[in-house]
């Protein structure tokens, strides 16, 4: 036991707790299982330890010790690769895949959360050693609030208006409102589509948003989220029953065609509104 024991323990504890707080399993269902959680908790623990130990090292004038933070950076880049590979492997077996843009977004989030843990532990230990434990607790609370804010990106309802719309057939062509979706030839399939299908129109709120919702990865994320939450009327060997999103070239609206197992338009609208806007899909053509 020395003067650094409690600050280090406290820093590690707060950092690991923050990682646990950010490791919520929700409808995205990842990481679902105990083993996945253990991997991320352990990495969070390592991140917390690295952030914490930097402060006593500086105070003891062991400046070279700080260089192993660079080691941490390469380590956590590896986390991103690991997540990307796992999710891409799994994606091939999904009835409605996540898509690469969504996967990349998730992988980036996993990496960045470890950095948030490092910063938190760093700050908390610094406050403990410079002031006292109360200042450290205060810094910890602020870090939790900031992390919570950074974790929640924008939702689709911030950038588009979602409206339920009727689906219809013109010959073999399937339409959501006036947006052409696909050609379904067999009358039997058309009947299934009319029975189970639902249509939504997403209207962009301003010009910049048009290219964001036109992004194919963003569209796939909408389909995946709806299918995960409401189920999907589809199986391997029925390629005609596929949820799709097409775009109206004239005004940038998109027509969402989904085949949920639970046909509840109000719930589906809520789900579409809560789909995250993917970082990689965001474009700002109006910003100079």
């Amino acid at each position: 036991m020395n003067e650094y024991t409690y600050p280090i323990l406290f820093g590690i504890l707060v950092g690991t707790a923050l990682r646990l707080f950010m490791l919520r399993t929700d409808y995205r269902q990842y990481p679902t299982y105990l083993h996945g959680k253990i991997i991320h908790l352990s990495l969070g623990f390592i991140a917390a330890a690295l952030g914490t130990i930097a402060i006593p090292s500086i105070m003891e004038k062991e400046f070279t010790a700080v260089t192993f933070l660079t080691l941490a950076a390469s380590q956590f880049r590896e986390v991103r690769n690991m997540e990307r590979n796992t999710l891409t492997e799994m994606d091939g077996y999904e009835l409605v895949p996540r898509g690469n843009t969504y996967i990349e977004g998730i992988a980036v989030a996993f990496e960045s959360r470890n950095y948030l843990v490092i910063f938190t532990s760093f700050l908390v230990t610094l406050c403990y050693l410079t002031f006292n434990i109360w200042a450290a607790i205060g810094a910890g609370v602020v870090c939790f609030i900031i992390s919570n804010f950074l974790m929640s990106g924008s939702k689709l309802s911030d950038i588009v208006t979602v409206e339920h719309s009727q689906i219809s057939f013109d010959g073999a062509g399937l339409y959501v409102d006036n947006i052409y979706i696909m050609n379904i030839g067999l009358p039997e399939r058309q009947k299934e589509v009319m029975e189970y299908g639902m249509g939504f129109i997403l209207t962009p709120k301003d010009f910049s948003v048009r290219s964001t919702i036109a992004n194919l990865g963003q569209r796939q994320a909408i389909l995946h989220d709806v299918s995960v939450t409401l189920g999907v009327f589809r199986d391997s060997g029925t390629p005609a029953l596929v949820p799709l999103i097409k775009r109206d070239l004239n005004d940038g609206r998109i027509g969402v065609f989904i085949l949920p197992q639970v046909k509840d338009p109000k719930r589906a609208k809520e789900i579409i509104e809560h789909v995250p806007v993917l970082e990689n899909a965001i474009q700002m053509p109006t910003k100079k």
Partner: protein, 61 residues
């Protein structure tokens, strides 16, 4: 080479309307055409698209 889209088969009631390398199924009635297209859709894992009332194509997407 990986093909993105390909016509796997055509099903038609009109003699002489379709030619080419993909398999062509000639049917007597519209009902027969629909039944064959539905079966082919399941077997070939493709989608039956209607180009006209007399012609279906099975396309792999």
């Amino acid at each position: 080479m990986k093909m993105e889209k390909a016509i796997l088969a055509s099903v038609t009631t009109q003699e002489g309307k379709v030619h080419g390398s993909a398999a062509v199924f000639k049917c007597e009635t519209k009902e027969e055409m629909e039944a064959i297209a539905a079966n082919l859709e399941a077997i070939l894992d493709g989608i039956a698209h209607a180009l006209s009332d007399q012609l279906y194509i099975i396309v792999k997407h």
